[in-house]
Symmetry: C2
Subunit: 358 residues, 2 copies
Amino acid sequence: MLKARAAVQNLPTYDPPLAGRDGLRLDFNENTVGCSARVIARLQSMTAEEVARYPEREAVEVLVAEHLCICRDELLLTNGVDEGIHLLCETFLEPGDEALIVVPTFSMYEISAAATGARTIRVLADDDFRFPLDKVLLSITQRTRLIAIANPNNPTGAVVEGRAIESICAAAPHAAVLVDEAYYHFYGQTVLGAWRERPNLFVARTFSKAYGLAGLRIGVLTGACPAMAMVRKVSSPYNLNSVALACLPTALADDEHVSNYVAEVRIGRERLQEELRAWAIEYWPSQGNFVLFRGGELNQPFIRAMRQRGILVRDRSADPGCAGCVRITIGVAEQTERLFAALHESFDEIGLKQPEAV
Amino acid sequence: MLKARAAVQNLPTYDPPLAGRDGLRLDFNENTVGCSARVIARLQSMTAEEVARYPEREAVEVLVAEHLCICRDELLLTNGVDEGIHLLCETFLEPGDEALIVVPTFSMYEISAAATGARTIRVLADDDFRFPLDKVLLSITQRTRLIAIANPNNPTGAVVEGRAIESICAAAPHAAVLVDEAYYHFYGQTVLGAWRERPNLFVARTFSKAYGLAGLRIGVLTGACPAMAMVRKVSSPYNLNSVALACLPTALADDEHVSNYVAEVRIGRERLQEELRAWAIEYWPSQGNFVLFRGGELNQPFIRAMRQRGILVRDRSADPGCAGCVRITIGVAEQTERLFAALHESFDEIGLKQPEAV
């Protein structure tokens, strides 16, 4: 009888929403206004001939490498960051190995690691979701072959300093250290290029967030040339679609669209955090395009009340340390207005009172 | 020091053309006229909001399943057939296992199998590239966990009967048997649905060939529900891009575009085979949208001569049993005219003479 590998049999089925997300979608950390109009113009100029052809990623990889000021061999375009994570796991992990992650964090690290048969070692974040550097260093063993760090972290918005990342790379030279900078634009700090000192460092970026291209599936995995050569061996040559490849140069050329959007999100993030303070709601300062806060027992009624008002937010209460927590993606100014209106109505509906101003 | 898994270290680097395929491209078995105009119209109607959103494949999977007259749980949309192959290898193969393929064939089976650390057992096709059923049956062992069969086969165009496939499934119930029907439309016969009798059978289809959507990366992997549930565990929820998902229903609705194209290709295939007979060139009758023939020592000069005339054809001389062979993709009538003109000029240039008519 046909049986999957033991590691696959033991995998849970991951079942995220794949349909029916109607409303103002503040649940997936997407760009809430969409990509640059110039990108859409390029997309709309696609011909039947371009679509019929197998994707040719070479020239576009050169452009992206130039944009990031790195060599082409230090970079691989991936079908979203998801594929980059998957490729790293496939390249470095086997049964008996350990993959180290700091929880709560993005779920795909653990899913892709588990598929290889490796054991996931989960290190719980320190108080207030601060990065637990000491515990991470103590958890490194000879079997550690992957350490995945989202920076800023999702869903907490917490960050880790470049120096801490370097010390992890130094302490685990036999492990691939992935720094997932999907939310880089909303933070502004990076370890890109640090693999020249630390050849086991990989950095991932995405065009799904600040650039508003989640639908096109464009991730970037970067690292030292020898390390990337290993990853490239397990990657498929036609992983990126032609529309993504056609649109990417245009997206890179319209820096202004991205920087304007990012600026608005940062203001919205500050405003939401102020608002949560005013309501005495526990939240965690975020460097992403989202804020995590604790609704406690009122979490589920709050999420329902928001949905009734046409706003989707993401329940994170199943994440470690996140009981009763919800994550809200930040959009632009008028969306923040709409969010606040719904927030106030929902708080009212669920019986949450604003404390007296002191 | 960072090291890839042993299986990855041993992998060769696969380096197909990823740029610079200028001319009439008869080298990749793509659709030579492109997709339906209605698909392009749908593509051009994509909005920034649609592009910003994570892909939602559920509703489209329902439609494709209906189109194929199977249940939704029997199907997974994949990022090209390449991803389907990769997922099957990942689900079923581990070091020590055996993957059985009949060579020459499509290269990705061996590449994806090797990445898992499994051993590839290559069974050489019989004379004239006929399917070596007896040798395949004899090569099945307790460690066989994957058997990959392209039907029609690429690059030979040979086919294998449904009954032979069933006997393989029956002889290796512990192995996943993949029948890759990428060229189904040019052949017309299928084992789709036969997994209801043979629960270890998987069938792959693609929208890259007859439908002209290679750039959008749309494969379909089908199989029995329990088997597909295992595969789904290792798959990424956002593997298909939103443009592909938006265009797919339109592509399915325009059956006429596909059937007209397929009819023209079949006529062109017959004409090219006649022409090769007239020139006394060894070729193999094909059920794909391509024909393989042996140029022998004149193969390289022929490929160069064709390129000088703006026509790309694919050298297959490195494939087992294919020394001196070239594969030409068939297009529509006026492309066949252009092909014939270049063919005659090239034959003339390399000094190939047409035998006297008898």
